[in-house]
């Protein structure tokens, strides 16, 4: 049987090296071809997971704890599919984007390919030290991409992002050191059963706290969100789309993995409530700030802060004593992750086109955009539908599952937060749409943009909308592993 796992690790690294060899600004075609191959490999892997269930893969043939193990299950399959499906249209978008605006293209392609390699490796890893290395790979690629735009604003944002993410990795690695000291292993496969079987020492509590805090910093959960809007808002649009849609999901994925596979014996209801509370605060605070922004990309970035909050609501809901409620909470959280990734990629891509056309990132300049770029605006609105959680979008299914879980458990507070969050996201989406439907201001000229720039955003938004009809497949893959 053909095994796609090793190729999913090696190939993106090879693409990255080759794109660097090709030189400055080169590698777009390579990235497109490479991504198609990887998407095919991912589909093969997802089918294998769906048929045969989760499995381990021993790199080097040593096996844990001596060697490094990889582990793929339904969750891994969903994440791998997601990153490839989101990135492929963005590659087309980025090629067109950088042909209009060369600023920031420098080493965009190798950096992007390494970013993908890092995420592939991260999602499949079952070794907490290996995960640390992939996290660093991911962070440095992301920071390099943010800084590539090359003026003072993005660079200040990149410096702040770098320092925060290094602090997060440091806290995480300290946790790894304590766990190694306690159990003598860094493999999740070995540590999981050990933690469940032995008495938990204070060192493990401290390790869990440090690792969780480090990852929360990287995921930008309120109140650690301060670095995100400048970094995502000032990067070139294709970069913003990649970062907002995918990169923060990687550290969230790790929180989820560690929470269930490693620290399950330590998890208590107050901790879960705390995470949920921070998530609720993020939803409200992020949405309000998004509404108050005057720059379009900053608005979209603050909307990311808010949408991350929904993901964390699944922790308290998972602790509910009713099994159905807990299950639908997990499903809702994962649907939210997938739907938000697609919608946010679409939204940033659309915002990038509008900013390119208006010449400046300012919501007030959008008047008349509805007649100039109808397709892009439509894509923006469709993505907005997912963020608000209106049917038939993927966001609707996500929020429906989460709300029904909360209702099932009688947790009315979370229900209120989610409904209020939906209304607030409607407010900031309509703020943009209303401005765009105003008649054009006399004397303001929009630059024409290439058609190929408009389609990827529309495609992504459409997938996020149609996700609502095909959510069954995703949820069954998720449960299959």
């Amino acid at each position: 049987m053909f095994d796609p796992i090793p190729w999913l690790i090696l190939l993106p690294l090879a693409w990255g090296c080759l794109a660097f060899l090709a030189g400055v600004g080169r590698g777009g075609r390579l990235a497109f071809a490479g991504l198609i191959i990887q998407l095919a490999l991912t589909i093969v892997l997802a089918r294998q997971i769906a048929m045969e269930g989760a499995r381990h893969y021993a790199v080097g043939g040593w096996g844990a704890p001596l060697g490094i193990d990889l582990y793929v299950d339904g969750l891994t399959g969903v994440m791998l599919l997601l990153i490839h499906v989101v990135t492929l249209p963005l590659v087309v978008y980025a090629r067109a984007y950088f042909s209009c605006q060369a600023e920031g293209v420098g080493y965009f392609w190798p950096l992007t390919l390494f970013l993908l390699a890092a995420m592939n490796a991260l999602f499949m890893s079952a070794d907490i030290f290996n995960i640390y290395v992939t996290l660093e790979l991911l962070s440095l690629a992301a920071v390099g991409l943010v800084a590539a735009a090359g003026s003072a604003g993005p660079i200040a944002a990149a410096v702040r992002y770098l320092l925060v993410t290094l602090l997060g990795s440091g806290a995480y690695l300290m946790g790894v050191a304590l766990l190694y000291g306690t159990y003598g292993s860094v493999s999740l496969t070995v540590l999981g059963p050990l933690l469940a079987a032995t008495e938990i020492s204070a060192a493990v509590f401290l390790a869990a706290m440090l690792m969780l805090t480090g990852l929360l910093l990287k995921t930008a959960l309120f109140p650690f969100h301060f670095w995100l809007p400048p970094a995502h808002g000032s990067a070139p649009a294709p970069v913003s789309a990649l970062l907002s849609a995918l990169v923060i999901k990687a550290s969230f994925y790790l929180i989820l993995r560690l929470w269930f596979d490693l620290f399950a014996p330590l998890v208590t209801i107050p901790v879960a409530q705390l995470l949920g509370g921070l998530g609720a605060a993020a939803i409200l605070w992020g949405s309000v700030l998004a509404f108050m922004q005057v720059r379009l990309k900053m608005l979209v970035a603050y909307s990311t802060v808010a949408q991350i909050g929904y993901l964390f609501l699944l922790f308290p809901l998972m602790m509910l004593p009713i099994p159905e409620a807990a299950e639908s909470a997990l499903q809702g959280g994962m649907m939210q992750l997938v739907a938000h990734a697609l919608a946010k990629a679409a939204m940033f891509a659309a915002a990038g086109v509008m900013v390119l056309s208006a010449g400046k990132d300012d919501i007030a300049l959008l008047s008349g955009m509805s007649s100039h770029l109808p397709l892009t605006l439509f894509a923006f609105a469709l993505a907005g539908v997912t963020l608000m959680g209106l049917p038939p979008s993927g966001g609707f299914i996500a929020k429906w599952l989460l709300i029904s879980s909360a209702v099932n458990g009688g947790q009315w507070g979370w229900v209120a937060v989610m409904i209020l969050g939906g209304l607030l996201s409607a407010a900031y989406v309509f703020k943009v749409l209303c401005q765009a439907f105003l008649p054009p201001v006399a004397g303001v000229k929009f630059k024409p943009v290439r058609r190929v720039l408009e389609w990827p955003a529309f495609l992504l938004a459409l997938i996020s909308l149609l996700l609502g009809f095909r959510s069954g497949e995703i949820l069954s893959l998720l449960g299959g592993g």
Partner: protein
């Protein structure tokens, strides 16, 4: 307000520090897994006799592969920052105008060949005693930095294809070895070297890595140190 925040942070982390120390002193030694023993029992199959090298390039060779990518990635980030500029030889001119550098130059001429020899030696002994690609690469990089400081080697500008090839050469060797092993020797298994040829393959990878690590680490300095000259030239 600001002072209050600072005091709060200091108190918080003082508590964290004391807790950490307490936890470390309280901790019982692990009773379940004894990895260092496993390393020693499997050492024969790894192809090298120095345990750290065995872990670094065989048992946990995957970490090393990713780690070298981290280094290349940092260099890519640096390259994105230096922008487009032409390679200038101002460095030598600028730095040689200072008399004490003449002495340095003379010293460097003596030391650098020695450093290259040391790097080669470190690479070679890595298989059975302390040393290996990372240390050898670091020594090579240090030689490059010294050459730059004494004005012999100009700072680097946007790398041309030959320098780019050098920078990724080691990584490509690593990837090619991994792919070749996966296709030929142990189908579908990542980085699983056959014990008989493991030593040779590891040495091959280490040779490539030494070159690339030396160039990348030196590049971190040589690409950056050009900034000052660029500003000089602008005036």
């Amino acid at each position: 307000m600001k002072n209050l925040f600072n005091a709060l942070v200091i108190v918080l982390f003082a508590v964290l520090g004391l807790t950490l120390i307490w936890v470390i002193l309280e901790l019982q030694p692990p009773t379940h897994v004894h990895l260092s023993k496993q390393v020693l029992t499997q050492l024969d199959a790894s192809g090298v006799t120095h345990p750290v090298t065995a872990v670094l390039l065989n048992f946990r060779g995957y970490d090393t592969l990713l780690e070298v990518m981290v280094l290349l990635l940092a260099l890519l980030g640096v390259l994105a920052q230096i922008g487009k500029r032409e390679q200038r030889n101002l460095s030598a001119w600028f730095r040689l105008s200072q008399p004490y550098l003449q002495v340095l130059l003379w010293l460097v001429r003596m030391i650098v060949p020695l450093m290259v020899l040391v790097a080669g030696y470190l690479l070679w002994v890595g298989g059975h005693q302390p040393g290996g690609a990372f240390q050898a690469g670091a020594v090579l990089a240090a030689a490059g930095v010294l050459l730059n400081l004494s004005g012999v080697l100009p700072s680097w500008a946007e790398p041309a294809w030959n320098l780019r090839t050098g920078l990724v050469f080691g990584l490509l060797v690593f990837l090619l070895v991994a792919a070749a092993v996966m296709v030929v020797a142990s189908p579908g298994l990542l980085l699983q070297y056959p014990p008989a040829s493991a030593g040779m393959l590891i040495l091959l990878i280490e040779m490539g890595l030494t070159l690339s690590l030396g160039l990348i680490l030196a590049g971190l300095f040589l690409f950056l140190s050009g900034d000052a000259i660029e500003d000089e030239a602008e005036k």
